[in-house]
Symmetry: C2
Subunit: 349 residues, 2 copies
DNA sequence: TTGTACGCGTTATCAT
DNA sequence: ATGATAACGCGTACAA
């Protein structure tokens, strides 16, 4: 087991001082005679020398690393987000340390501490909603924070990247309304999150525009973890007046919701029209293929990283930025006009 | 923007020397008077002091970090693997730096260099197959390497964790044979990988045991990236004598394969019996639900991390270890006896 | 039991 | 244009 060469080894082998080697490595830090530069470079590649990140960080005070804090990577949404963040980051020469919270503020707090220890230059996170003061402290210590997918109301002046939640939910609802649905179920994330609230808002706005009464019992905000989606779907369909249309707007609950529909033998779209918020390609492999609101995860990742890196390099004006990217509605075969018998009000017609 | 307190600040505030603080932090490194210990701890929590990882690493020579090198996180197999690795690692106080290779040896090489710079204590990787000398150098520099899911023949003396590839493929094949299938298509990973070879081996072994002739044209080894799966399926079904059963044993190709089947309107299991190697829950949401070989990804992750950490702490005997975990066969509704008209040999019966 | 002083590898400052 | 040297923050022999 050899020992990796240090900058001193290079300097010695090249017959120069460490300063010269350092300047060769960081061109902007000072001049080097072309001759020596070549010589040093040659020795570097000869010895296979590489600067140790730890030493750099110690000296610089911060690392060329960003933390990515998400619920868990088993959720395709976060998996794809992570994939793009890692990929995008690499092209900028920065590494990504991934941490998962399971939506538990306590684990989140731990993660933040750890990232602080590592002096990461920035953090991209889907916050649980807790740890307000911790997030503040992090920012106060010079760590650039970007929230993705969700925001925290109590925390102002933070960059946020998300999809147009309200608009997306509204478009999905509009689509069902246009088909003639009046009782539309909504399964979404906790109302304690900005995302959940916005989507409920979009849903209500669509119904109001169509002068359809809003029945609160049709709106179910379920936790991100667990399979509350399936249960919500079950209880919605067990209603005296069940919905004829369903929107699953919590990506973490799509699988359990669809599974429940399959188990119950619900015929789609005959018994129920369905639209889900999508991050997974399999939505077109079911029968029928599901109409989806497609989230542009790549865009979320790119913008998030753009913001963190921009801040890290100080090439961004002060003041929080909020970026909302548009989500596409992809119509497939899971939506149709409601069965007349199910539409109570027009049953007499 | 404040500055984080250092060990010196703590020492000063507590009226002791830095070494006392250090010993409080690392209990095994020396004795501390109970009184002072309490005092120091109180100051630490007061100031919110946390040791800087960079300084530790620099001094220790290696970081409490492991690198995870996989193809990409968009593949549910790797996403779940990463999820478990990150989770498992956290409980041991180690962080995970994720890097993706897109199956490109060049990108892999870059990743290894980067991980080397970071002095990671270990690397868990699904190797592309190239960079033999680079892997060797890494190990030579004291980085503990564990290959997961695949091995590299040219690289001996490396820990490997994988599923029982040969056995799994054999069981899937046996299942179809038992149903009466004689022409069974196999879509698997590149024959240049240990995984691909083993699965082909299991497939052949099953056929040989049943005295069924092996038709090489039924075996398609396709790259991990891209959607070669769909094309392979298309060409298999376009054969003069198409298979009546199909095994998709390359998880990266399952989606494109199934998509193609759906597009072609193939009736499962009437026209074709299908078994896929599974990492995604949606395989039971298709119609019919697919019979799968379920890979115990959690076990792969746990064992991999166990090995790396064990080596890092030097509490593992020398000598490479190979761990194979059993995969379950989960029968669902995508397999049936072949249609008699399709079975050429018994058509006369 | 406690404190001092040095090393870890790099960058930045300041002479030369 | 180059070189010596002092940080950066922590661990740790070694001395007291």
């Amino acid at each position: 087991m050899k020992k990796a060469p240090t900058i001193r080894d290079v300097a010695a082998a090249a017959g120069v001082s460490v300063s010269v080697v350092s300047r060769v490595l960081n061109p902007d830090s000072g001049p080097v005679a072309p001759a020596k530069r070549e010589q040093v470079l040659s020795v570097i590649s000869d010895l296979g020398y590489r600067p140790r990140a730890a030493a750099r960080e110690l000296s610089a005070g911060h690392a060329l690393t960003v933390g990515l804090v998400v619920t868990d990577l088993a959720n395709p949404f976060f998996a794809q987000l992570a994939d793009r963040v890692v990929w995008e980051a690499r092209s900028h020469g920065v590494q990504v340390v991934v941490m998962t919270t399971q939506e538990d503020p306590h684990l989140e707090a731990e993660s933040l501490d750890t990232l602080l220890d590592r002096s990461v230059g920035g953090v991209i996170a889907t916050p649980t909603g807790g740890n307000i003061e911790k997030w503040d402290r992090l920012r106060d210590l010079g760590v650039n924070v970007v929230f993705v997918d969700r925001a925290i109301a109590e925390l102002g002046d933070v960059d946020v990247v998300s999809i147009e939640n309200s608009d997306s939910a509204r478009r999905a609802t509009d689509h069902l309304i246009a088909l003639g649905h009046e009782r539309i179920g909504l399964v979404t994330g906790p109302a304690s999150t900005s995302t959940g609230r916005s989507r409920i808002g979009g849903y209500r706005a669509a119904l109001e525009s169509a002068s359809i009464d809003i029945d609160p019992i049709l709106v179910r905000d379920v936790p991100f973890r667990g399979d509350g989606g399936g249960d919500a779907v079950g209880s919605l369909l067990a209603l005296p007046e069940p919905p004829t249309g369903l929107i699953v707007a919590n990506t973490a609950q799509v699988q359990s919701s669809v599974r429940r529909l399959v188990q119950m033998g619900v015929r789609i779209p005959d018994d129920l029209s369905v639209i889900v918020f999508d991050d997974n390609p399999w939505t077109e492999l079911t029968s029928p293929p599901l109409s989806v609101i497609r989230q542009p995860i790549g865009m979320l990742a790119v913008h998030s990283l753009e913001l963190v890196l921009g801040r890290m390099q100080g090439r961004l004006p002060a003041g929080a930025r909020t970026i909302e990217v548009k989500a596409d509605f992809v119509p497939r075969s899971s939506c149709a006009a409601p069965a007349r018998s199910a539409t109570s009000k027009s049953a007499t017609r």
